[in-house]
């Protein structure tokens, strides 16, 4: 007997994504859709999109969405969640959005223990605007605005957002994962599901930082980008579960 063992998640639309070849957003979107399907949340979910490469995430996930201003998604999500506490509210933000212009909003949403879920995609660069230095850009990494490599005497040090948030009592689930290979994709899938379960259980703030590649703006072929992530990013941003309320 024939059996379907692999299919597109129901919450995942069949639209072609606008992402560059090798980009991690498609995988991460799908993992969010998997979590929404697995937990049967499609009719309860309200997503909040960022400004950046994933600004049009609402084209790919078949759920209600609000499009937020740059960095403000956690504030927008707070407003939604306070009015509709039984709905499931998540933000999807890149590192330019969350770790630069949106640092205030993310820290205070976490400190309040806001019962929302944040998917934070860290690819160490501003993607949408063409590859400028992000707060997460690694030391020595070349970008459009750090053309000689990030120099700590002029451009400071990469921001470890998860370690920063780990100091806050309001955070109930916090993990850093990666999607650079199949094994890690499965780990990321579990973490994202766990983050949504945290919200369902009304345990407070949950965030999953997902390390991802940006071959276009890193100026690498996808395979080289994957290797760079594994070698350079993971050593600065170690993969781990920081907090789990269980």
């Amino acid at each position: 007997m024939q059996q379907v063992i692999f299919k597109r998640p129901e919450s995942f639309t069949d639209a072609f994504t606008h992402y560059c070849p090798g980009c991690g957003h498609g995988i991460i979107h799908r993992l969010v859709a998997n979590a929404i399907d697995d937990l049967q949340l499609r009719e309860k979910v309200i997503g909040v999109g960022p400004v950046g490469c994933s600004a049009m995430i609402y084209d790919y996930l078949d759920v209600d969405f609000q499009q937020a201003a740059h960095g403000r998604a956690p504030a927008v999500a707070t407003g939604i969640k306070r009015v509709l506490p039984d709905n499931i509210v998540f933000t999807y933000q890149g590192d330019g959005d969350l770790a630069a212009i949106g640092t205030s909003e993310i820290i205070h949403a976490a400190a309040r223990g806001e019962n929302i879920t944040v998917i934070f995609v860290n690819n160490a660069i501003f993607g949408m605007t063409g590859g400028q230095m992000a707060p997460t850009t690694l030391i020595g990494q070349k970008t459009q605005t750090s053309p000689y490599g990030r120099d700590t005497t002029k451009q400071g040090y990469p921001l470890r957002v998860s370690e920063l948030l780990n100091t806050l009592e309001g955070v109930s689930y916090l993990a850093r994962v990666s999607v650079h290979d199949a094994k890690n994709v499965l780990i990321a899938k579990k973490a994202i599901k766990r983050a949504f379960e945290t919200q369902i259980a009304k345990k407070g703030f949950s965030l999953v930082e997902v390390l991802s590649i940006c071959p276009t703006n890193w100026g690498m072929k996808p395979k080289a980008a994957i290797e760079w992530l594994e070698k350079e990013m993971v050593s600065y941003y170690p993969l781990q579960v920081f907090k789990d309320w269980r």
Partner: protein, 357 residues
């Protein structure tokens, strides 16, 4: 039953907001309107399903309002001039995404940190679009604590009716003033909000967004906004006119300045001067029609403001060169006395008389 109570301006707005069905307030402390935060911090949590949030910043507050309004809830924030500047990004997004919300500005002297005393120097910012992009915002200017209560209902109603941000613009004097208020039972109209994000149950997903990446789509969207603004200009102009057939001179003033002017005008009328008042209540849409007929009949318009001359530009556009439009203003938080205003009006009148000789 009508209750009459003695109340502070900020509190009157708070009561009006709650009775209008405001479900969420997000704000940040700033003088001279912090009493509104304190009032709603106490009152809103006692109402089932209602929330109060002291946000980490003015920017966060207006974005929380964006999110809440996007679910269809009645939402309000408040601040004073420097804080309102910070909210402009959010106001632009709210206008672009066509979300209803109410924003209170208890304006104070500027620019910069300025002072904490009353001023009307945010007129341009409020009526000409303080944020980026082609948009308009309804701006209501009450003159008393009673009107602050009454126009809070109007603000929420217009916001829902037109899916637009509405600013209730008072100033540091009105927000701190204590006056008797009749707490009338105003009927609250409920609007259908099928555009709100509430979870896609039994329907297709909805999207709240100001993003239109295709130029043709954005142009179409902005055209749609301006069709809406044309409707607002047609239907929602509000002003008070204290003029008659004999009126020769017309003072134009709003808010607390209109109150001061009224006292001066009463005095001048007793002296036999035929002087009237136009008080715009909607600063946008500006009551142009109030000037159409008068411009042919009267001799002079005297615009009085607590700034260096902002609304006067709209008065000149409305009068359209038919008559002279003069201006007098105080700024920095300085409030003129009725006597000072009476003298100013007299000197403006004698000036125009001299010119005509």
């Amino acid at each position: 039953m009508m209750e009459k109570v003695l109340m502070k301006g900020t509190e009157a707005i708070g009561v009006g907001a709650i009775r209008s069905g405001c479900k969420i307030y997000c704000g940040y402390p700033i003088t001279p309107q912090s009493e509104l935060l304190a009032y709603l911090a106490k009152e809103l949590p006692q109402i089932e399903g209602a929330s109060f949030i002291q946000s980490e910043s003015e920017i966060a507050a207006i974005n929380m309002i964006y999110g809440a309004a996007g679910t269809g809830a009645r939402a309000m924030t408040s601040s004073s001039s420097p804080g309102i500047s910070l909210k402009q990004e959010g106001i632009s997004y709210i206008a672009g995404a066509e979300l209803p919300c109410v924003i209170i500005n208890a304006s104070r002297g500027g620019p910069g940190l300025g002072s904490i005393q009353p001023a009307q120097s945010d007129y341009f910012q409020a009526t000409k679009g303080g944020g980026h992009g082609d948009y308009r915002m309804i701006v209501l200017a009450p003159k008393s604590v009673q009107e602050m209560y009454d126009y809070t209902f109007v603000a929420f109603d217009l916001a829902d009716k037109y899916r637009t941000p509405v600013m209730l613009m008072c100033d540091g004097a009105l927000s701190q003033l204590m006056e008797p208020v009749v707490l009338s039972d105003t009927k609250v109209v409920q609007y259908e909000k099928n555009w709100a994000t509430t979870g896609a149950k039994g329907r297709k997903p909805v999207l709240v967004s100001s993003l239109r990446i295709e130029p043709a789509e954005l142009e179409e969207h902005v055209d749609h906004l301006f069709e809406k603004y044309a409707e607002i200009m047609k239907n929602e102009v509000r002003y008070e006119s204290v003029c008659n057939e004999k009126t020769e001179y017309v003072v134009v003033a709003y808010g607390i300045m209109a109150r001061i002017a009224q006292t001066a005008i009463s005095k001048l009328r007793q002296e036999g001067i035929e002087i009237g008042l136009i008080r715009p209540i909607t600063l946008w849409p500006f009551p142009q029609q109030a000037f159409a007929e008068l411009s042919d009949k009267v001799k002079l318009f005297i615009t009085l403001e607590l700034n260096k001359g902002q609304m006067v530009e709209d008065v000149r556009l409305a009068v359209n060169g038919k008559k002279e439009v003069t201006f007098y203003g105080r700024c920095g938080g300085m409030l003129p006395t009725p006597d000072e205003i009476a003298e100013v009006i007299k000197s403006k009148i004698s000036g125009v008389k001299k010119c005509n000789k």
